[in-house]
């Protein structure tokens, strides 16, 4: 009987080393992939390439962290591509065409994005639209609006100094990487150690129970969409800065990558579970895969196939390690 007791204790209290491994399986897989690449691809291990990967991962990480909050409360924000396009176009339009100072232009686009976030949240919370569809519709409306403004044309003429945000360096470290780490750290503390941060987990875990615990579920839900919109907007500013021009298509293909990153990072699509640094690792993972594929000169179409298969393997291993 005593042996049974031992088995049971360990299992119930689920805090063993094994469960830690399971929780961070994605990190282990990432390190494995990274080491294999370092050993087998000389071009991969150059500082320049590593910095490139980090830089490329940084703004998409920031955007994915926004989406992370919406997914954490059990919803989805499909409108991020539009928020990204909108930010890029209106910011550039204001700065390059209307001479608004960069600082004010940033504030204004952040405000605009926050408004879009509020609308997304309101449609979901008060309009009872499934967020998938609500945000999809908002996406189309926004797209229409900024296409009317820009006719789909890129807007160039941003000041050179603005390039620092997306392409600057502090020592050998690209500035976006530092920005990303700071954002991730703040969000980590926010989600793990503040009352409001924990509320997102509560709402995503059981919205009824959260409501009965006195959490303002409507506010938290709307706020998740606002955070998502703001971080998408910041990410967009970074991407815009890198190309020094506003472009409606700047985030066109990001949505599915962002979703993949969030899930790779161990976030549950049904809500209530996930970690900030998981998302960051997810972004690095995806970026490393894309990078080695090009370094190995894999043909474009084969890239889709190989990348897909790698993702399946990783997610399946991760999902099954988490299960029991």
């Amino acid at each position: 009987m005593s042996s049974l007791e031992v088995v049971e204790k360990k299992n119930r209290y689920g805090k063993s080393f094994k469960s830690f491994l399971n929780e961070w399986m994605i990190l282990i897989l990432f390190i494995a992939l990274f080491l294999i690449s370092v050993v087998s691809l000389p071009k991969f291990r150059t500082t320049r390439n590593i910095m490139n990967i980090l830089r490329q991962a940084s703004f998409i990480s920031i955007i994915a962290l926004g989406e992370f909050f919406v997914i954490l409360i059990g919803n989805m924000d499909m409108s991020i591509t539009s928020i990204i396009g909108m930010t890029s176009i209106y910011f550039s339009g204001m700065v390059a065409n209307s001479g608004v100072p960069v600082f004010w232009a940033i504030l204004i686009v952040l405000l605009l994005s926050a408004i879009v976030g509020v609308i997304n949240g309101m449609l979901t919370v008060y309009g009872r639209m499934p967020s998938f569809i609500g945000t999809l519709t908002v996406m189309n409306i926004l797209k229409g609006i900024y296409f009317i403004y820009s006719k789909g044309l890129p807007i160039s003429g941003l000041p050179e100094s603005f390039n620092f945000l997306g392409a600057g360096y502090i020592g050998v470290i690209p500035f976006p990487v530092i920005l990303m780490l700071v954002v991730a750290l703040i969000l980590h503390i926010f989600t793990q150690h503040t009352e409001m941060g924990r509320s997102f987990y509560a709402v995503g875990g059981n919205i009824e129970a959260a409501k009965l615990s006195g959490i303002n579920i409507k506010f938290i839900s709307v706020f998740a969409f606002v955070i998502c919109a703001l971080l998408s907007s910041i990410g967009s500013l970074g991407l815009t800065s890198r190309s020094l021009s506003g472009n409606v298509m700047i985030g066109e293909n990001l949505l599915f990558d962002v979703m993949t990153i969030v899930v790779l990072g161990g976030t549950s699509l049904t809500g209530g579970r996930g970690k900030v640094f998981g998302v960051v690792i997810g972004a690095l993972f995806l970026q490393v895969i894309s990078n080695i594929m090009i370094l190995m000169s894999v043909n474009t179409y084969w890239q889709w196939v190989v990348k897909g298969i790698i993702l399946i393997v990783v997610v399946v291993i991760d999902a099954n390690s988490k299960h029991d």
Partner: protein
């Protein structure tokens, strides 16, 4: 403390679309009393509680808290909480992916600046548990806890802010004897502090043990209230179901047929070990054991829904392999799971569809199509028998009261003509009248040559119905008691003996 009305409800009426859940109900709660709120399933107990805490807004009527009239349209859960009213809900309200500590303190964290002070929180949590005299690890995710432990988390959460009024809505339905005694102890402590308690339970013995006054509801209407010391159990039962209840347990069947089900050396990786068990036709087999003994897992393992390390199953003497519930059902097994919301019901289905879900194949037209009418008739009949409170067969089950939902789960398996029924706490949350109906159903099944395995936290139930009782402790069968020997003393001794050893 002088008797003050902590809560006063006057002429409360609560209407849901199609149902009048409360009809002109009056209710008062005094400081320092424990007030038993009783009535059949669907009588309106939970609804009344939810009106008091502001989860529902009563359609008509007045509510006074500590003598102050409440403005109903602006009354919310948060307001009631601020006024010192707490509740343990009938259905769990927990975040399964968060740990016990956070489930208790969510929304009320201890903070240093904006940052949560986890150390202080942990200390406060431990103090609470000590007060409750309950030992459990608050760092474990709630989904890994036992049912009873989850209930303790809910209790701790309710007690957190030192409320003046606390409502226990079937708090004890998932607890066993020792746990219940502990609750009584806590209730005494609370009463001594002048806290008023509304105590809802279908186990009437508890009402007599810990309540000062009682109120009976029937069909949403106020029936009676008074001092518990002035009545006896028979009278209370009569007030609740409107008739007397004699002979709670029908006579046991004595005629056993062939072996229907044999379990040999069942061992699970985590929950039980070397379990041997057999059921004959016409036999009711009880499994008794403390919380977390592994009874639920054993039933699920038999049903092909739990991992096994080793073990053999014989159905009518034939060795078979059961890999999933579907196969189990093919071999004539049926299970009534313990957690109705998680495992028993599809909340998006109406009563009819839930009732016939496991037996759809019996209601076919031209072998392919479902005969909706026949399904409805069958569902109607079996649910009538169980005295289900509902207003339409096409009503979604999530609008039913807890006990009535449980009845639908039972009805579902009664429709499916199984050979062996695995019943896991089938009467959880069921009122006295319907309990009797379920007992006679079980006894009829046995008489018809079926086998029944019965798990129940109520020893009395096991003793009253079983022909043989397996006593289980920490995943092992410690003793088998048969026939005349099945008495409270023997079984308790078995359990205690083990515990002390």
């Amino acid at each position: 403390m002088a008797a003050e009305n902590l809560i006063e409800v006057r002429n409360c009426t609560m209407v849901f679309p199609g149902v009048k859940a409360l009809d002109n109900v009056d209710f008062t709660l005094l400081a320092g009393e424990c007030h038993g709120l009783v009535g059949e399933n669907g009588a309106g107990k939970s609804t009344l509680s939810k009106c008091i805490i502001g989860d529902y807004r009563m359609s008509e009527g007045q509510l006074f808290v500590k003598g102050e009239e409440i403005h109903i349209p602006s009354y919310t859960v948060r307001k009631s909480h601020e006024m010192g009213i707490a509740i343990v809900h009938q259905e769990f309200q927990l975040m399964e992916d968060l740990n016990g500590l956070e489930n208790i303190f969510i929304g009320r964290y201890e903070k240093r600046g904006p940052i949560i002070d986890w150390k202080k929180l942990q200390k406060k949590g431990e103090e609470l548990l000590e007060y409750l005299q309950y030992d459990l690890d608050l760092k474990v995710k709630v989904k890994h806890l036992r049912t009873a432990e989850k209930q303790i988390i809910q209790l701790a959460k309710a007690l957190l802010d030192n409320p003046d009024v606390i409502i226990f809505d079937e708090l004890t339905a998932v607890l066993q004897e020792d746990g219940i005694q502990n609750i009584f102890r806590i209730i005494d402590l609370l009463k001594a502090k002048g806290i008023g308690i509304i105590y809802i339970s279908h186990r009437l013995d508890e009402i007599f043990e810990c309540c000062d006054r009682y109120t009976v509801l029937c069909d949403g209407k106020y029936v009676n209230s008074g001092f518990v010391k002035d009545i006896d159990k028979g009278e209370l039962v009569k007030m609740i179901i409107g008739r007397e209840l004699k002979n709670v347990y029908p006579p046991k069947s004595e005629q056993f047929g062939d072996l229907l089900l044999e379990i040999k050396n069942f061992t699970s990786p985590t929950s039980f070990r070397d379990v041997n068990l057999e059921v004959r036709a016409g036999e009711v087999v009880g499994i008794s054991g403390l919380l977390g003994a592994g009874k639920t897992e054993l039933l699920h393992a038999i049903f092909g829904n739990h991992k096994l390390v080793s073990g053999e199953v014989l159905i009518k003497g034939e060795p078979v392999k059961i890999r999933n519930p579907q196969q189990a059902i093919k071999y004539g097994l049926g299970v009534i799971p313990d957690e109705r919301r998680l495992l028993g019901l599809n909340m998006l289905f109406n009563i009819r569809d839930n009732t016939t879900l496991a037996s759809m194949k019996f209601f076919k037209k031209w072998k392919v199509f479902q005969n909706h009418r026949k399904e409805a008739e069958a569902a109607l009949e079996i649910n009538k028998r169980l005295n289900l409170r509902y207003h339409s067969l096409y009503q979604l089950v999530n609008k039913l009261s807890g006990g009535n939902q449980q009845k639908v789960v039972i009805a579902k398996w009664m429709l499916r003509n199984c050979d062996v029924f695995l019943l896991d706490e089938p009467t959880r949350g069921i009122d006295v009248g319907a309990k009797f109906e379920i007992y006679s159903l079980i006894s009829e099944l046995a008489k018809a040559g079926k086998g029944v395995i019965l798990v129940s936290p109520e020893l009395e139930e096991i003793i009253g119905l079983s022909n043989r009782v397996y006593v289980m402790y920490e995943g092992k069968i410690m003793d088998v008691v048969e026939g005349e020997n099945i008495t409270q003393e023997v079984i308790i001794q078995d359990l205690l003996g083990v515990v002390e050893a």
